[in-house]
Symmetry: C2
Subunit: 207 residues, 2 copies
């Protein structure tokens, strides 16, 4: 009898704003502690090192700024990416879009979002749970050729009532939603993982 | 007989990317030279000095970083704003969204986009003329309470064929479109300018 070990998937977690104690960073920290045994999560903390995108810099320095290289390598190494986004002006935060703009480019590390499984969620102190921002982020990720998990969605509203003063997630229903979200992402990664010997993805844009 | 002098309006022009020779920067430079006598245009060149938005920085430094203050003051001084945007990943460039995120915040210079007349246009080397990016930019500007000129639109496609090697706009039809766009913006600014003694705008978001 052959036993098949359940593969453990490595997931990089990225918060879409720079604020150290943002709800979305707290949500990702909760995800790390609540992750199922099949997932190993790590929160990326070096987004402040990703500078403003500049095509002139890209031309003069094809490997990209150090902060961009580091993020590209971290994503390339991971089996999947979870993005927790705040909502700025009913849309994707500029900081996050700027990072995705860098990541969408060809580079010595490749186009690291192409064919990468990605899940998007978000938390806000208000009543809407970053619904519009998540829609923006998903649209951009699709454009980058990422494999975006379609469901379930997780829109955490009224985040202030769900964390304790130390930033720990204490709301049982939200904790359960987060656990189910991660289980679903593990299944999504299994489902879309390339089969052995499968050819590389075709060009993302057809003429 | 009383004569009424036609007022000259000052307009700040902002390109949505950092590339020095971007099509959109060239388009704005062409606008400066093609502006009607009723408009005085100036291209803002200090966007690289606007750092990544960070709420922690905003908390510790309520006046904002120097680069943000400078942009806020330039917009506050101007009667209107023209934004020429490239398109990154079918959407607003992160660099531009980041600047708008800063500008959307309350500050010692006020919320400088609130009630500000703004026109959006864009140029691309490809066939679409930044249509999706312009839609994103308009949506964000509406959220910021700006007075966005609804028509005419200007989607400059195939920009490479419309400028000479020195970056001067040489295409007659595109030049005419640009002139008509600016004339329309002057009328838009006249139309939405607050009447003398008119109360300030109400709060942008009702409870």
């Amino acid at each position: 009898m052959t036993t098949h070990a359940t593969p453990v998937r490595n997931v990089l977690c990225l918060a879409g704003s720079l604020r150290r104690d943002s709800w979305n960073r707290r949500l990702l920290r909760a995800a790390v502690t609540q992750a199922p045994a099949t997932l190993h999560l790590a929160v990326y903390e070096e987004l402040p090192a990703v500078p403003l995108f500049d095509e002139d810099v890209e031309q003069s320095e094809p490997t990209g700024p150090a902060g961009v290289q580091a993020l590209r390598k971290a994503i390339a190494r991971a089996d999947g990416l979870i993005i927790a986004t705040p909502e700025y002006n009913h849309a994707i935060p500029g900081v996050l879009k700027n990072a995705l703009d860098w990541l969408s480019r060809e580079s010595p590390q490749g186009e690291v979002l192409l064919e990468k499984p990605v899940a998007v969620l978000g938390a806000s102190s208000g009543p809407w749970g970053t619904r519009l921002a998540q829609a923006s982020v998903r649209q951009v990720l699709h454009t980058c050729g990422a494999l975006v998990m379609p469901t379930p969605t997780l829109f955490m509203a009224n985040a202030g009532a769900r964390f304790d003063p130390d930033g720990m997630l204490t709301d049982p229903a939200a904790t359960q939603s987060l656990q189910r979200f991660m289980q679903a992402f593990w299944h999504w990664m299994e489902r879309v993982a390339p089969a052995a010997g499968e050819p590389q993805a075709a060009a993302a844009v057809l003429p």
